[in-house]
């Protein structure tokens, strides 16, 4: 990030101004970097060996951490929501709330956060080290486009594999929630799945997966940009890795909000009548609202 030198006579207003100028510069820099990456992607896909190497690192090696996170989050959801639902005698509907939360929000967001932490930081540190040791200059000196060679494969790996990781997180989360609800909380499995089936639509799963693709793209672009902008020395590399995670985390949550609003709007537009009838059914079954 370009920094604007501070002066000893600066006031609080100067500091606020500096913050916003730096914010605009950082966003502009990120946008230009993303555009450069898209241009490089349109020019051609890098060699299969390089893309598959990145896919192995991003996808295969992230599977254990995503599975563990998904499993526990499903179980935690069951534990945390049981008391509230039981107080309203609605515990048999636990499957609906757990599975809707998982496929719409927690699965995509947690898979993305795990990817940002495990892969994004590593990418920023790796590319940062390459920049500090002049390997990126060496690529250019040898006729390679560093964005094409380094960024495009990482982008493709994150963008294409994060939906699969999300599906895995969703699946083990659903399993964890079901396992705990039926074995420890005494909920009948039939009711659990009946209500899950009633409230979880394919649109919810698809919406979560679409969101995850945006998260994957954001993680790759932010991590690679931080690596390419890395400052000198070990401190610069460490800062690039930290900035990559923090920025990715903020962007994932902001994107989650805006995409959530957008996807809900699309849902209402496409399934307007259907949505209303689902709610009426729900109210009816709770008792006496119809």
């Amino acid at each position: 990030m370009s920094s604007i030198p501070a002066s000893p006579s600066d006031t609080f207003i100067h500091a606020i101004g500096r913050f916003f100028i730096e914010l605009v510069l950082a966003i502009g820099d990120l946008a230009l970097f993303g555009l450069g990456m898209l241009r490089a992607l349109l020019r051609g896909i890098p060699k299969r060996r390089i893309v598959f190497g990145c896919m192995y690192e991003v996808g295969v090696r992230s599977v254990p951490v995503v599975l563990v996170t998904g499993l526990f989050i499903g179980m935690v959801l069951a534990v945390q929501t049981y008391d509230q639902f039981a107080s309203m005698h609605m515990e048999s509907r636990l499957g609906a709330i757990i599975n809707v939360s998982l496929v719409k929000e927690l699965g995509p967001v947690l898979a993305a956060v795990m990817l940002a932490g495990r892969v994004g930081s590593a990418m920023a540190a790796e590319l940062g080290t390459m920049r500090v040791t002049e390997q990126i200059d060496a690529l250019r000196a040898l006729g390679a486009n560093p964005v094409q060679y380094l960024v495009v494969p990482r982008f493709l790996a994150c963008f294409l594999l994060i939906p699969l990781l999300t599906v895995m997180a969703d699946a083990v989360g659903v399993f964890g929630g079901w396992m705990l609800s039926t074995s420890a909380l005494g909920i009948e499995s039939t009711f659990y799945w009946h209500h899950s089936n009633k409230y979880v639509a394919i649109f919810d799963v698809a919406g979560g997966l679409v969101k995850s693709m945006f998260f994957g793209a954001a993680i790759a672009i932010i991590a690679c940009n931080r690596g390419f902008q890395c400052g000198a020395g070990a401190e610069g590399v460490g800062r690039a890795a930290t900035e990559s995670f923090v920025l990715s985390f903020i962007v994932i949550l902001s994107l989650d909000f805006f995409l959530g609003v957008l996807i809900s709007a699309i849902y209402r537009l496409v399934y307007a009548g259907q949505a209303a009838s689902v709610w009426l059914d729900a109210m009816n079954s709770v008792g006496g609202f119809a």
Partner: protein, 282 residues
């Protein structure tokens, strides 16, 4: 491609080179990073076939000059010319293609950590030519031999190499595309005296083997003595008045060693002079 074709560079100059025309030229080039200016109004000419040594204190802009020469970074103002043609108007594709005329030995060798020695040397060939893998292997082994490394070194990772070996692999990689201009950025820094002489000899041998133009950034006077046809000395801007030229010496090694300018003589003889008082070490 026939065997004899290997004696030719893989990337030829776009324009025909006139004998008296500089192969690389700086016209009033300045470069800064943020508010920190590194180079100011540099005018420099590099003639084809010569070995030019750029000397000067750390931080005076020698490495930046090398990157500007190769078009790896643009000047803040001024113009860099290759064969008399400015590089400013060139498209990215043209710049990438024309840049292959240069070989660059980076300060820390800048070998790709994730690739072994063989893949490092073959990188430029795979990236820019349609050579068969057999031919690439032959070329890589030839380059390794040229820099005095055994073929067994080809399958080592950069992390397994000593400093001297890394520099030699870096040189082999820079030579792989048969460039006609080679930039050496502090090729002997951090090496023992024996390895320093090995690298100096390799620079000379490379020039003797084929007519390359060499530009060497160095602090080592042994390197200057051994390889330089001409020396250009830069001075840090922080020690100059606003109107002083940043290049304080241009001439032959003999002229540098007999220079009466204290800035030049102190540097070439390694004397601290008034710096001791400035640093309050006396």
């Amino acid at each position: 491609m026939t065997k004899t074709a290997r004696a030719e560079p893989f990337c030829k100059p776009l324009s025909s080179h006139e004998p008296d025309e500089p192969i690389v030229e700086f016209r009033n080039v300045s470069r800064g990073f943020g508010s920190h200016q590194i180079l100011r109004n540099i005018n420099l000419q590099v003639m084809a076939g010569e070995t030019l040594c750029l000397i000067g204190e750390s931080g005076c802009g020698k490495s930046v000059t090398m990157k500007l020469m190769m078009g790896l970074m643009p000047p803040s103002c001024g113009d860099v010319l290759w064969d008399g043609v400015s590089i400013n108007g060139r498209s990215d594709e043209e710049l990438v293609r024309d840049r292959l005329r240069f070989g660059y030995l980076f300060q820390g060798a800048a070998l790709f950590d994730s690739l072994n020695v063989y893949e490092n040397i073959a990188f430029g060939l795979r990236q820019n030519t349609r050579m068969s893998e057999d031919f690439i292997r032959e070329t890589v082994m030839e380059r390794l031999k040229e820099v005095g490394l055994a073929s067994t070194a080809a399958y080592k990772m950069p992390s397994e190499l000593s400093g001297g070996m890394r520099k030699r692999v870096g040189l082999a990689r820079a030579l792989a595309l048969m460039p006609d201009i080679i930039l050496y950025d502090e090729p002997t820094t951090g090496l023992d005296p024996i390895m320093t002489d090995v690298i100096n000899t390799l620079i000379k041998k490379t020039r003797d083997r084929r007519p390359v133009t060499s530009i060497v950034v160095t602090h080592e006077m042994s390197t200057v003595r051994k390889v330089a046809d001409r020396i250009v000395m830069f001075y840090p801007l922080s020690r100059l008045k606003p109107d002083d030229p940043q290049i304080v010496f241009e001439g032959t090694p003999e002229e540098a060693f007999t220079s009466t300018d204290p800035r030049v003589s102190q540097f070439v003889y390694g004397e601290a002079g008034e710096r001791m008082q400035e640093l309050m070490l006396v």
